[in-house]
Subunit: 141 residues, 2 copies
DNA sequence: CTCTTTGTAACTATACTTGTTACAGATATG
DNA sequence: CATATCTGTAACAAGTATAGTTACAAAGAG
């Protein structure tokens, strides 16, 4: 279980919240749908809260609900909210600076990485949580 | 060292090969520039060979050289050649199929994943190994 | 005060990536 | 043919990230 599935889980979590409207949803309830431990859900909700996408309430009858309407939550903002890795990683160890290629390749790859990341963000920005809800409904209709 | 840097290393390796023209390049020489073990380089070359991007020769005075001109090697083909993970992973454990969201979310995320992957491929396809070589040259000129 | 629920720390298990050693197989050269 | 060189690949060790789990402090409703 090493592949980062936080984005997938975050979309799942937010879809659950969206369907609950203004009601507080408990992490246990979401965990049952995602099929994982409530703490895993609370860890994701913690990141979504930091990004201002949800708001939580502790105590009895507490729980979490969306901080904005689903149409205003883009998949890009979800992607940025959870700590996903990059599309591809740069060199683990710095290349040999005595070699012309080793000296120049890092900055080229770094710029490319940024450009790809931007491209992914733009593509994800074309969709909102509302889109996902609609697609989920259609999928099993 | 868990982040997958094979794409970065592959681009580095191919840049080295491109600069050598039609000469065979040894894995030890490339490893010195990438600052890693020759076996790591040979593992990447093995994947690039399977993708038809390079051709290797065993034995004395053996080594590897490009199978095509740099301008015909797109970064997309390099990305596909090395076994990078996906931009985001799907659920590790299948969601609860008794929940409407759990039942529908997987296919939605899977389609989204394919679309993002396609988008990344198109962006990478805008660049070739020749572009990288030029950028590396300019970077430290 | 009591019960419920979040927030978070700490630990474990697992899996992936890289690094390393070792060796079989191929090939150029004498 | 013998030898030296280089690739290809298996096997294993080490490091690190993710997910899962337990435990508990803190907050809040009744």
């Amino acid at each position: 279980m090493a592949a980062n599935s936080q984005f997938s889980m975050a979309v799942h979590v937010l879809t659950m919240l969206a369907r609950a409207g203004d009601d507080n949803v408990k992490s246990d309830y979401i965990a049952a749908s995602v099929n994982t431990n409530p703490v895993v859900i609370r860890r994701i909700l913690s990141q979504l809260n930091a990004a201002g996408l949800v708001s939580s309430q502790t105590g009895a009858f507490g729980g979490t609900r969306l901080a904005k309407p689903p149409a205003e939550i883009s998949l890009c903002s979800i992607y940025k909210a959870v700590s996903c890795g990059e599309v591809f990683a740069l060199h683990a160890k710095s290349p040999n600076q005595d070699c012309p290629v080793g000296r120049g390749i890092e900055s080229v790859l770094c710029n490319l990485q940024k450009e790809i990341e931007k491209s992914v963000g733009e593509k994800l920005g074309q969709y909102s949580l509302a889109t996902v809800i609609e697609m989920v409904s259609v999928a099993h209709a």
